[in-house]
Symmetry: C2
Subunit: 187 residues, 2 copies
């Protein structure tokens, strides 16, 4: 299909509203194609994010649970993280996160889904990998701020978490629904 | 399945780092269960968001394309928006957005998916509705900052946009993959 015409805005100037290690907000003075201007359109800057659908040789999904302060809830999740530096590849970051958070590694890794967490006001992408045949090769190596429980769940249990919206993060829900749509259709 | 234990952080104090109409960032001084403290854990505050899989009586998907400054790209999207006020219901917001952005309305609306855009550092939820049997009942009513093209696409075209990752927003990719996993399995 034809791509829609890119109706780009012109950036007249940029400034940082906040620039701290865990919070970078840029304000762009922009001009729209119709001539209208926004003096400060906010963009939240982040490194790219990654997550992984990791499945053992026995067919178990390597999942975690973790408290998330945005929603103030602890829920089941895929292993996820951020590219630590601008030059860490998404695959390296995903393999590092899986090993650190669960002790699992090896297996066959393939890119599975590319997403924009928020194309309107974030500058980053998120990448899901499918890691098949992973195995426990080490212990967890958590930072002192991390409090992560590892859960080996069956495919049916993961599907139930998805259907009941216990897995709620859009960046995890999208690749899991894609997995069940394309790899494990239930109909 | 059993919910994981909520390993909640204690909020010792809060302050707003930025509080402007389109950018509200809160810094929470928090204490973790292990006693560790973050003097400023950032939470981006937003109203809840909505989007809609709108399908006409003829089976066409009512899609839009729109420039998004975060990624600086114009792509195909679902109609989406924000609850305008804290007390606007997600259904009201979704119906308002569909009518304003495309002129389509009526039809049979059902809640389809609840997501967290980012449970780690945002306080809001996003709701997708499935609107079946919508019809054109008005013209577009855009704000001067909105530059939105309407596209009627077939189910096959939407599936192609999803598979090729032309539709890239996680909040749209998740419900569309759920739609193809549960309503229109392709296998």
């Amino acid at each position: 299909m034809k791509k829609p015409e890119n109706r780009k805005w012109e950036v007249l100037s940029s400034r940082y509203v906040v620039k701290e290690p865990w919070c970078t907000v840029r304000g762009d003075h922009v001009r729209l194609p119709n001539g209208m201007e926004f003096p400060s359109f906010y963009v939240y800057e982040f490194y790219n994010w990654v997550n992984v659908i990791a499945i053992t040789k026995d067919g178990d999904f390597v999942m975690i649970s973790q408290y998330r302060h945005g929603l103030r809830e602890t829920r089941y999740e895929l292993v996820a993280g951020s590219c630590d530096k601008a030059d860490e590849s998404p695959l390296e970051a995903a393999q590092r996160e899986l090993l650190e958070e669960t002790g699992y590694g090896n297996g066959h890794w393939t890119p599975f889904l590319t997403m924009a967490p928020n194309s309107a006001c974030q500058n980053n992408l998120a990448f899901t990998f499918l890691a098949e045949g992973v195995e426990r090769i080490d212990t967890q190596h958590l930072e002192s701020s991390e409090d992560i429980q590892v859960h080996l769940l069956s495919e049916d249990e993961v599907y139930e978490l998805l259907v009941t919206e216990e897995i709620i993060q859009a960046l995890m829900s999208a690749p899991l629904w894609k997995y069940f749509a394309t790899r494990r259709p239930r109909h």
